[in-house]
């Protein structure tokens, strides 16, 4: 091994990756600004644990910190709902579909809140 820990190829690789990340950030920023985007955020015990734009079709399992509880969150064609959950009562599943900014799905046993944020209601959502 040589005295110098870093080789020329390392620096070229790092520079290339930085450039790629920068360009992607730029592209993402331009795309993001063009739409008055709505976001779906999941809060566990008040802490934001996930966020998705409402126009992405997604099916994901949100687990409670102790891993004992889970809720399956679905975003499908801008409709947001809990498809299934292992909580007693299943109230979060029964809440049905939310679509507008400010609306919430709540699972009390899991201390989970799913909220649509952004758009016109952005200030309300922040001050909650």
């Amino acid at each position: 091994m040589k005295k110098l820990p870093v080789k020329k190829a390392d620096i070229i690789l790092a520079a290339f990756l930085c450039l790629a990340a920068f360009l992607l950030l730029l592209v993402g920023g331009i795309q993001g600004r063009h739409q008055d985007a709505l976001w779906v955020r999941g809060y566990l015990d008040g802490k934001c644990v996930c966020e998705y734009p409402i126009d992405c079709d997604i099916k994901t399992t949100i687990r409670t910190p102790d891993q004992n509880g889970s809720n399956v969150l679905v975003i499908d064609q801008k409709k947001v709902y809990i498809a299934s959950a292992d909580c007693p009562g299943q109230d979060c599943v029964k809440m049905g579909i939310i679509t507008k900014s400010g609306e919430e799905l709540i699972c009390l046993p899991h201390k989970l809140v799913i909220r649509i944020e952004g758009g016109d209601n952005a200030i309300d959502a922040i001050s909650q």
Binding site: D10, C18, L25
Partner: protein, 177 residues
């Protein structure tokens, strides 16, 4: 390869594996799982990097894959297993190729490993999480730059740790041979 499966080799693997699992546990304490639950920074990779340089490719693959299985059972669950398994496999294959190539130092190898680890996890996550192409496009646009930068940072840190370990810990096999 002759006579490798002896008690000493197995004990050594067990020791390295427990070290790798401990590093994974430390990693679970660092919350990077905003947005995509289960995706990890890849700090545990420093142990794998050390094994790759000191003990060789086969042992590194073995420890790396066993680590993902054990951490899935202990902390993260089946979804995260898909991410971390694919991430670990791709990054270690790439790191091995780049290490043999020798135009990169341990830093370049580690950065490439960290970034490929994260990108593979993102790709795996987009297959697991999203039902259609829009989700993949979204994940790529919003998280690719973050994961590239996080992978580079983790890669530098891992290389620094592994490099220090390689220099400080004497290679027993060389002394004996």
């Amino acid at each position: 390869m002759k006579g490798k499966l002896n008690a000493k080799y197995i004990a050594e693997c067990g020791l390295l594996l427990s070290l790798a699992v401990t590093a994974s546990y430390v990693e679970t304490l660092i919350p990077l799982n905003i947005a995509i639950p289960g995706i990890k920074a890849g700090i545990a990779n420093c142990v794998i990097l050390f094994i790759l340089y000191r003990h060789g490719f086969l042992q590194a693959v073995l420890i790396s894959l066993l680590r993902t299985v054990i951490t899935a059972f202990l902390f993260s669950g089946p979804f995260a297993f898909v991410y971390s398994f694919s991430g670990a496999l791709v990054s270690i294959l790439l790191m091995n190729v780049l290490k043999k190539n020798s135009i990169f130092s341990i830093y370049g190898v580690s950065i490439a490993g960290g970034v490929s680890h994260n990108l593979t996890q993102l790709l795996a996550a987009s297959f697991v999480l999203t039902a259609s192409g829009s989700g993949i496009r979204y994940l790529m646009t919003y998280y690719l730059p973050v994961l590239i930068l996080a992978g580079m940072a983790a890669g530098c840190l891992n290389a620094l740790i592994a490099d220090t370990l390689i220099k400080r810990i004497p290679d027993k096999r060389k002394q004996e041979g």
